[in-house]
Amino acid sequence: MSDRIPILRIGDILLVSVQFDLEDQTVLNLQEDLAEQIVAKSAQGVVIDISALEIVDSFVGRMLATVAAISRVLDARTVVVGMRPAVAITLVELGLSLGGVSTALDLEKGLAKLRRPASSASQ
């Protein structure tokens, strides 16, 4: 399967909204597409909305951590928004604390986080 998730651009921010349960290859495609688009669009920030996701397993968790790391290397910042409480509880128990991933409760707070200076956005 080579499904691709659309990446929207608002100013210098890339926005991805994951709307359905993804196959592993689609997850890897998204990771590559985001890296490419950060450079192609000179993006300063990436927002990944996972509010529709009922589960995040180690594969998707690793993608989120990797995108966060890639964007740092490319001088952009990533914020993951909308994680459901049950997903957060499960991820921590699974052993994935997503330490390097910046998060916000919803899209609005995520965008606000990206507008603040880098030092406070990484908290």
Binding site: E23, E54, S58, G61, T90, E93, L94, G95, L96
Partner: protein, 140 residues
């Protein structure tokens, strides 16, 4: 290895041969978990554990099957799933169950994490013959 199913329970068997099958297993487990009225958090934990184990069946076991269904004992009901493959097996189970240990490029959290997420976890493996992992999550 005793199966978790009692007489009268009849699990459905699903094949795990492609990555799309892992998505299907998640959907199957979700439906069963809702049927058993697992709490939202317990549903999420069971689906996540099943996702990890189905991916292992595919990636390391070279594919296999998942049998899934409702189980019950005297006082409670739950969801059970058995992941079975005829792959290489696991030579060192303690090592494989250690957080962070991976033979591939994973995070090494699938097996150890899945064990924490469910109520019953049994792993049976014979090097050269295959691996069977059984998990159960009970409704509270």
């Amino acid at each position: 290895m005793t199966a978790p199913w009692a007489a009268g329970d009849d699990p459905q068997v699903y094949s795990v041969a492609r990555s799309a099958d892992v998505v299907q297993i998640r959907q199957v487990i979700r439906a069963l978990a809702q049927q058993c009225r697992l709490s939202l958090v317990d549903q999420t934990k069971m689906i996540t554990a099943a996702s990890e184990l189905a991916r292992n069946t595919l990636t390391y076991g070279g594919g296999g099957t998942v049998s899934a269904g409702v189980v019950s004992d005297a006082s409670k009901r739950g969801v059970a799933a058995v992941f079975e493959d005829s792959g290489p097996g696991i030579a060192d189970v303690d090592q494989a169950m250690t957080d962070g240990w991976t033979s591939g490029g994973g995070l090494g959290l699938g097996l150890s994490g899945a064990r924490r997420l469910v109520d019953d976890f049994r792993l049976h493996t014979v090097p050269g013959e295959g691996t069977t992992v059984t998990i159960i999550k009970w409704a509270r």
